[in-house]
């Protein structure tokens, strides 16, 4: 049974990892701690829900469309909300993203109400069972999707010109500008990619839990902690941190009790920071 717990922990951890990855992309390119990162995932969930349940759009079309929608939301966020305050002191920028979080989460609550909605699973059917471990198809899909996405992002970051521009801006905004890179456009695209990644996480998570408007903040906290454990600013760190949090949450609630799950997860965070003050992979961009 413990293996079962760890495996399903990996599944939920994979979604935290993806959102943490998006979180770190924004931090690297714009030095912004984005409190609305969780809302990007929720936005994708609702777009997918509306398209598939009410628009009767088949899932294999609805899912990519909703990821594109959250990418657009990310791009608009940078253009309208972030760009005017970039460069100001950290607290002003954090407060702006808090304001955005309020707008997005309460906007969703306004349109869809507070209650949870069930979401159709892309691969229905009995969960796969092997070696006594039962793995719901959706959890398998989540883990596979994460691995694929990470590989794609890594390839994009290393091979494509956009990836290089993103990393240049992350290293040094001024120098990147001097090299002729349109920094603002790159940061906007960085937000779009980050929101898309969060969107994928949202769409993968939707069938496992119910889609509801107030999922954003809890998701954000988990991925913020994941990003910090992984070494704020490191992509592999964000992944490792996300998976670690998912597994710890499950194992603790199985072995100890769900009441103290969050307390123990946070204590693990603090112990990790004590051992590795700058996280698992401190400066691995």
């Amino acid at each position: 049974m413990l293996v079962q717990i760890v495996v399903s922990g990996l599944a939920s951890g994979a979604t935290y990892a993806l959102i943490a990855l998006g979180f770190v992309i924004i931090w690297n390119t714009a030095a912004v701690v984005n409190f609305a990162q969780g809302e990007f995932a929720v936005a994708a969930m609702f777009v997918a829900l509306v398209l598939s349940r009410f628009g009767h759009v088949p899932l294999f079309l609805a899912l990519p469309a909703s990821v594109a929608a959250s990418a657009l939301l990310g791009w608009l966020t940078e253009r309208i909300v972030i760009r005017p305050v970039i460069g100001r002191n950290a607290m002003t920028v954090v407060t702006v993203t808090i304001g955005l979080q309020i707008v997005l989460s309460d906007g969703a609550k306004l349109i869809f109400g507070g209650q949870p909605y069930p979401f159709p699973a892309p691969f229905s059917g009995a969960p796969l069972g092997f070696g006594g471990v039962v793995l719901p198809r959706q959890s398998l899909l989540v883990i596979l999707a994460m691995a694929l996405l990470v590989a794609a992002l890594h390839a994009m970051s290393v091979l494509t010109p956009f990836g290089k521009r993103l990393r240049a801006v992350a290293q040094d905004r001024e120098v990147a500008a001097m090299m002729g890179i349109d920094v603002n456009r790159t940061v906007a695209q960085g937000f779009a990619v980050s929101a898309a990644v969060a969107g994928v996480a949202g769409v993968l998570l939707a069938p496992v839990i119910f889609v509801s408007a107030d999922l954003g903040l809890p998701l954000l906290i988990k991925s913020f902690v994941a990003a910090i454990i992984g070494g704020f600013g490191s992509y592999p760190g964000a992944l490792a941190g996300g998976l670690l949090i998912g597994v710890i949450d499950n194992v603790v609630s199985y072995a100890v009790s769900t009441d103290y799950r969050d307390v123990i997860s946070f204590l693990v965070l603090i112990v990790m920071l004590l051992l590795r003050p700058t996280g698992l992979f401190p400066n691995h961009r």
Partner: protein
Amino acid sequence: MMSRRPAPRAALAVAAVAAVAVPPLLAPYALHLCVMVGIFAILALSLNLICGWAGMISLGHAGFWLIGAYTTALLTTDHGIAFWWALPASIGITAASGLLLGLPSLRWNGHFLAVITIAFGMIVQTLSVNWEWLTHGNDGVSNIPRPVLFGHRLGANLAFYYLVVVILAAVWALMHRFIVSGYGRALKALRDDEVAAACMGVNIARFKVTAFVLSAGIAGMAGSLYASYVRFLNPDSFGLDTSIRVFVMVVIGGIGSIGGSILGSFAVYVLPEVLRPLQQYYYVIWGVVVIVVMRFLPGGLATIWSSAPPGRE
């Protein structure tokens, strides 16, 4: 920062007179809002000490508020101790708990510290849910008695309001005393550059820890007042959303500005109530207000009526 010419004398006088004269004329619900704004102003002033002056982002301040509130609630209900003893006890215990964030602040700063403050707030809230033997858990603590002053109980909200105003004025004076003293200056110096401040002889560890202890103590006082006023406590009101709300009060008001924190708590608490006739739309509009103020008023609301400094570009 521009040398701080304190808010024009006239504005201060007007505010003081209004704070004393207006409430008796208000409808019960409006008076209730004034009391809550007073309590949140004290809480915002205490957070301003950490965020505004020492420059440390703290998103777990509701944790201190909870400790102060529960200390008074439990002492006055379960142990029958008078409010006037429970208040100092709350201040003391919460101040001591300030060390729980003071010590980590020596080792981490920026977003690492922000996460730890979030963790602190959530751990304290979870413990208040699970330690039923101490806090009655989700059932909360109810029927908390109002303080008794000169023989009669401050049952009426108006009487309690004046108690809050007196304490708010004291905290306001204390903060003004600090901002102009060597202590306040040293805190702001270590905010701008810890290494340089240390070379000037500032014992960074001592100042950071005292900042958290002092801030926690004042937050505990606000908690004590809150418990005695609403007469009921339960863990739900001390979550991360409350910590974020207090943080927004300080930043919207004007980081580092005393008048700003009070203005911020007024805006953050009263604005949603004023927008209430818009029914379910008011909270979305409130989010937009936060973005707009930060966009066009980097120095926060304080820049409107006092010469408080613009936010450091």
